[in-house]
């Protein structure tokens, strides 16, 4: 029998060797594959249930915090202000990829960077709360003012400090409650997410910096800057013809002013009146495509703004205007003469590189598009953030500071891990150009379409916009951009407001609808009741 007993021993040895081999497969060789398996939520849950740092506004209101729960996860993420900061804080969820600051600062909030873990030598030996709290640049009172002023109209408000790029308020409606998606009950979170995703108004999208709109007349500030920077246009010279229609070259449907009115004059005057005909002519015949593209890109168009939030959208300015036809010296006077000039170049072969000499501009197949782009229509599209940066550039002597929402990252004991130092993003224009436009914008707020923006006791400048979407029924995006500061001092706040798809299409729409919202934000910032 002993022979059989020994064989039995060998059999057990083989069986257990089999177990050992499988253990190696599961725990070592195949472990990574199992950990990456789509059904494996262990890593997610570990991450999800961990304590994370808070997010706090500049005036001390808690935007996000971890609350000890125990079951089913150690900590639950809470967003006490609900929808108000949803597009900034984002959410951290069990089933849905994180967004907003939760995503951008995931490591810092979780406390994983090495420099957070080891602040001093003694940290090697003790367990310390290494999470970083995010001190936001946003001010709760200003953010709430933006929400109240916009109300239940779809739109966005962006307010920032032109001197530093610090974002003071950034609000988009419709918004959503991030607590629903952060629900530790994965199924409930999933349902909430699916419902929001299916909403045609897309409340999940932070349109303030992730969606582009026709900027309409607010873009005339960029065109004006391009005009001055190119040397073709000055503050008081040339004086554009007073007319009610502009015929683009080489061909295209005529561009008219709002309500068929006539306007013209020098730069200050056409900005005040928001004169379409004059700016269309300026863009197409005085500046030309190259200088227009250069100026728009100097303001940040066609570039992703370096904001500390994920998935910021690029604002768009067209760069392709078709085949080059010829350099044309325009008769700076009547539209008829300009049209004759174009007839003169009709059918001319492109033989040389475009150049702008002696007041001549290169004309392309689609220069008509440029005329429309110059007034913020056609292929121009901008985020509300981008338009706030346009106003900020004019208020800050031509320099655009990198926009940001996180001011500093602090440890549990109050010590500072990291501070966001203001950085220059772009030089949009020269200081002189900025000064001209600064004065022009103040004039618009005093005498022009942005009178609703004016606040007593402050130096306020603005520019309205009404980006037409359709004529039947007439509706348009109502815009305003502006800045405000104590008299005689640099502006402390730049604002952009868009109210989407408003009824009506007069140039007054922006001033009537959007300006009061911007003014409410300015008043909140300067504590004027």
């Amino acid at each position: 029998m002993n022979v059989r007993i020994r064989r039995l021993g060998v059999a057990f040895g083989v069986l257990y060797l089999l177990l050992f081999a499988q253990l190696n497969r599961v725990q070592f060789f195949g472990a990574e594959r199992l950990q990456d398996n789509v059904n494996n939520s262990r890593g997610l849950v570990r991450e999800f249930g961990r304590q994370r740092g808070r997010m706090i506004t500049a005036d001390g209101v808690i935007v996000a915090r971890s609350v000890e729960a125990g079951e089913p996860v150690d900590f639950i993420r809470e967003y006490p202000e609900g929808e108000l900061y949803a597009h900034i804080s984002g959410y951290q969820s069990l089933n849905v990829a994180a967004t907003g600051l939760e995503r951008e600062f995931n490591d810092e909030l979780a406390g994983s960077p090495i420099d957070q873990q080891f602040q001093s030598f003694s940290d090697v030996f003790r367990a310390r709360d290494t999470t970083a709290a995010l001190r936001l640049t946003l001010r709760h009172d200003v953010q709430e003012a933006a929400r109240t002023a916009l109300g239940d109209r779809k739109g966005s408000v962006v307010a920032l400090d032109p001197r530093t790029g610090a974002i003071i308020a950034m609000w988009t409606w419709p918004s959503f409650d991030p607590n629903l998606i952060a629900d530790p009950d994965g199924a409930a979170a999933n349902n909430a997410y699916e419902t929001l995703l299916a909403d045609p108004d897309d409340p999940l999208l932070a349109k303030a910096f992730r969606e582009v709109f026709f900027p309409g007349s607010t873009f005339k500030l960029v065109t004006a800057s391009a005009g001055i920077e190119s040397g073709a246009v000055g503050a008081f010279d040339p004086v554009f013809d007073v007319t009610d229609s502009y015929d683009p070259i080489p061909s295209g449907s005529p561009i008219s002013n709002f309500a068929g009115s006539s306007c013209g004059g020098n730069l200050i005057e056409i900005l005040r009146a928001s004169c379409n005909t004059a700016f269309a002519e300026m863009g197409a015949e005085w500046i030309g495509p190259d200088e227009m593209v250069t100026a728009a890109e100097a303001f940040g168009f066609n570039h992703t703004p370096p904001i500390d939030l994920p998935n910021a959208a690029k604002s768009r300015f067209p760069t392709d205007f078709g085949a080059y036809l010829a350099d044309v010296e325009f008769y700076r006077g009547s539209a008829d003469a300009a049209a004759e000039g174009v007839e003169g170049v009709g059918g001319v072969e492109a033989t040389e590189e475009p150049s702008l000499a002696n007041g001549a501009v290169p004309v392309y197949e689609n220069t008509a598009r440029l005329a429309q782009a110059a007034i913020g229509q056609n292929d121009v599209a901008a985020t509300p953030l981008q338009m706030a940066l346009v106003a900020a550039a004019i208020a800050n002597e031509g320099v655009i500071m990198a926009p940001h929402v996180v001011g500093s990252q602090t440890a549990a004991d109050g010590s500072v891990y990291d501070t966001t130092n203001p950085e220059v993003w772009r030089a949009a224009m020269s200081r002189g150009t900025a000064q001209v436009l600064h004065s022009a914008m103040i004039n618009v707020a005093v005498n022009g379409t942005a009178r609703n923006l004016a606040v007593e006791g402050l130096t306020v400048g603005g520019k309205t916009g009404t980006a037409q979407l359709g004529t039947n029924p007439p509706n348009s995006h109502a815009w305003i951009v502006g800045f405000a500061g104590p008299p005689g001092q640099p502006a402390e706040l730049a604002v952009a407001v868009i109210v989407e798809a408003q009824e009506g299409a007069s140039e007054q729409t922006g001033g009537r609808v959007a300006a009061p919202i911007a003014r409410a934000v300015i008043e909140a910032y300067f504590s004027i009741s």
């Binding site: 029998m1 057990f12 257990y16 472990a31 262990r42």
Partner: protein, 442 residues
């Protein structure tokens, strides 16, 4: 005992003769005690970053239990193998640490640790009691029919409406008064004794001839196993009993033919079970591809795989994993919890400990003087080794999962007490061999 037999004893087992086995055991038990106490403290530290408040009482209680088990062995079976008891205590202790650690996380598990420590004490009492009650294992052979009937009665007990209770789909529980237990855990020991005694009688016949009626016993065992599976829906026990009988029959008859017949019958039973029961088909489907329904039927196995994968080579550390995600982690799936928190190192240590126990058990069988002891030791060792293999293989997806406890490690009073009785019987036989001349090899 003659002088020659003494010499033969010392020649065959010099290590045992030279080193007093109880002194070896004392050293091993001490090491086991240190391992368990340190593991307990680490598990608490890992989970809550603090030394457990009850570390002092725990230390005293645990060391007292180890010491009592050792001292009782010293008195009742001084000549027995010095390795088996420490190995069993190690498995029991690590299992306890894991259960205590899980009791904080498993829903409704708050008193698991207290109960398991009570069951450990009862188990060790049963171990001592068995050593006292059974001074010589061969007396069990004379009660063979009583044991056989008792074994079958215990197996059938859950089917009696007055006693039986169905928990989690399997009808393997019985309630007698206030006590709930799994009679099958005890039935397996009684049946091992019965099979051994029965086959001692008939093995000469089985060796020399093969007539149709000689196949009757294996047929009966097969039918009995099938009955357990069909009536109690307990695949694991069914497989365990059938394997037990076939292995003991094979060792007794020394005819591989019976292994072949056993394999054919097993295959037949398996096909039959598969075609008759959806829950068997389900088990097989899960085994073939648990990821086909990772949140449904395959959930337990899939989560166990993820737990083991998270463990990696060295584990997440005691108290720092998430084994509570696996359903029934404290009983059937405790191996996955150990693999997660102690890593491949820890799970391999469990495998090795079982191998050492199996080796020691088979050595008892090898050294046994009489056929009954030989077959009984083979039977007990097979029970231990196969049961551990079935559940660890199930967790690791080497074989289809059949719910059964991991001996000494899993939560559960019946399993713990029964396995301590099993251990005591092996220890008793091992001790008896010290007192008697080693037989010539057969």
């Amino acid at each position: 005992m003659t002088a020659t037999s003494r010499r033969r004893l010392s020649r065959v087992a010099p290590a045992y003769a030279a080193m007093k086995p109880r002194r070896v055991e004392a050293g091993l038990v001490l090491m086991v005690g240190v391992i368990i106490v340190v593991a307990y403290a680490l598990a608490s530290f890992g989970a809550s970053a603090s030394i457990p408040a009850n570390l002092g009482p725990f230390l005293v209680w645990m060391l007292a239990l180890l010491l009592i088990a050792h001292l009782a062995t010293r008195r009742l079976a001084p000549g027995a193998d010095p390795v088996m008891l420490p190995m069993a205590l190690l498995l029991n202790g690590l299992g306890y640490v894991m259960i205590a650690r899980l009791s904080n996380d498993v829903p409704g598990g708050s008193d698991l640790a207290g109960l398991q420590s009570t069951w450990t004490a009862v188990g060790i009492a049963a171990y001592i009691g068995t050593l006292v009650v059974v001074p010589r294992v061969r007396i069990l052979a004379s009660y063979r029919y009583l044991l056989g009937i008792a074994g079958m009665a215990l197996l059938a007990l859950p089917l009696v409406p007055a006693f039986g209770r169905q928990i989690n789909g399997a009808r393997i529980w019985a309630s007698v008064g206030p006590i709930n237990f799994q009679p099958g855990e005890f039935a397996k020991i009684a049946l091992a004794a019965f099979f051994a005694a029965y086959l001692v009688e008939s093995r000469e016949l089985l060796r020399s001839r093969l007539e149709l009626r000689d196949l009757a016993p294996i047929g009966v065992a097969w039918a009995g196993s099938l009955a357990v599976m069909v009536l109690e829906r307990d695949l694991g026990s069914s497989l365990l009993f059938f394997t037990l009988f076939v292995v003991v029959l094979w060792v007794a008859s020394e005819r591989a033919l019976f292994l072949g017949i056993g394999a054919v019958l097993f295959a037949g039973g398996a096909v039959l079970a598969w075609s008759m029961f959806t829950h068997v088909q389900q088990r097989v489907d899960i085994w073939r591809d648990p990821f086909a329904s990772p949140k449904g039927d395959g959930f337990q196995i899939v989560e166990a795989s993820f737990a083991l994968a998270d463990g990696g080579l060295t584990g997440t550390g005691l108290g720092q994993g998430e084994p509570d995600r696996i359903p029934f982690v404290e009983s059937d799936f405790i191996f996955a919890a150990i693999g997660e928190e102690l890593g491949l190192a820890g799970s391999t240590a469990i495998l090795m400990t079982f191998l050492v126990l199996i080796g020691s058990g088979l050595r008892v069988a090898l050294r046994a003087n009489r056929p009954f002891e030989k077959l009984f030791a083979v039977g007990l060792t097979t029970l231990l080794g196969v049961q551990a293999f079935i559940i660890m293989g199930g967790v690791l997806r080497v074989v289809p999962l059949t719910g059964i406890t991991l001996p000494f490690v899993s939560y559960g009073g019946s399993s713990l007490v029964a396995n301590y009785i099993l251990l005591a019987l092996l220890m008793r036989m091992s001790h008896e061999q010290r007192l008697e001349p080693v037989p010539s090899q057969s």
